[in-house]
Symmetry: C2
């Protein structure tokens, strides 16, 4: 298996966690997003969507982090990252999408670049935008986690899964941009529980071969 | 079953298509997004995330359109909206996420409001933002559809499925904002094939009980 990743990409970080939780060996291929290497012809030939991450398994190129993790869970089912019941799966997917659709797309590098270059946003306005979507979005995740008894040590029960793979990278981003986090105590409790696990430690940006300060 | 929807919400539109393809009867509950009814206490009591759509099935509240459609496909499997094989499912999910993560979140009502109110974007700048993400995002979908032989009459093979449920509402939005579409002929061929089906016709905004001009 080959993973095309960038150490700071939170979508790639999600897949790195899933691979680590499942103990799946893979070759790490760095794609430097700040240098726009995702648009290079060599990478574009692998990945038509020109985004990171991509996973190559058995000669097949997979993309979109949530689709990759679902594929891994179906193909390498131990340990399971999605619950066995349909309602549990719906809850876990909804939590993952709360972050993957409502927070992360607004804070992508290319979006921040557009704000500055095309809309003339100042550094302060850009950072306020970033924090606004992270803080409001995580508040929504907090409400969902506290709304029912399915939340356990992790987002869903007492084993880490898909929702945790998506939550943890978002908190790394939030911390990097000094977002407020004291309003989401359950989110942070889950984050701390995840980061106590070797798989999450091994997948974090600073542990990647292409890590920079 | 009860569907909380807004006629113009493309996330709700996705679920309406899935319900129509499966022939699942449901009560339609309108939530007027422009009047901010999603933040009303009555709706917030149903839906902790305060977004549209929500689906209530057997007393359980489901949210996030892609999670709802996956739940429907697992619980009411005929006709299938996801392929039987893991690679096919990964491809269909990636196509759905190409739109649900890379295009749609940037063009949400609340995001457009932020651009205008907080960043002082002009009407022209707002519309240019909208078109930029739609046109670039659909170009990426076009590349994926033309990159392999799995594309058929619809996004994946010759039966409509999850990716089509997500594609069609995005094209409605693109047309409403006068986005360029001549650069994505395969996308538009699939769109036209979908709109020839009664389920897509029945789910479209103008056919909703809360439709406005």
């Amino acid at each position: 298996m080959e993973l095309y990743s960038y150490f700071r990409s939170s979508a790639a970080f999600r897949v790195r966690i899933a691979l680590a939780l499942k103990g799946l060996p893979h070759d790490y291929r760095a794609v430097h997003l700040v240098r726009n290497e995702q648009a290079d012809p060599t990478y574009a030939a692998v990945a038509t969507h020109r985004l990171v991450p991509s996973l190559v398994d058995g000669g097949q190129v997979l993309s979109q982090s949530l689709a990759i993790i679902e594929y891994l869970d179906e193909t390498y089912p131990q340990p399971r990252l999605l619950p066995a019941d349909a309602l549990g799966r719906a809850r876990v997917r909804a939590l993952a999408l709360d972050i993957a659709c409502e927070i992360h797309p607004l804070n992508n590098l290319r979006v921040l670049r557009y704000l500055v270059k095309e809309l003339g946003a100042s550094e302060d306005a850009k950072n306020a935008w970033y924090r606004h979507w992270v803080e409001a979005g995580l508040e929504s995740v907090e409400r969902r986690l506290t709304a029912d008894g399915a939340t356990g040590l992790y987002c869903h029960g007492d084993t880490p899964g898909l929702a945790d793979c998506v939550l943890v990278p978002q908190i790394f981003n939030a911390q990097r941009f000094d977002c407020r986090l004291d309003h989401v105590p359950t989110v942070m409790r889950v984050f701390d529980a995840c980061m106590a696990l070797p798989a999450f430690q091994a997948a974090q940006p600073s542990a990647c071969p292409d890590a920079e300060n």
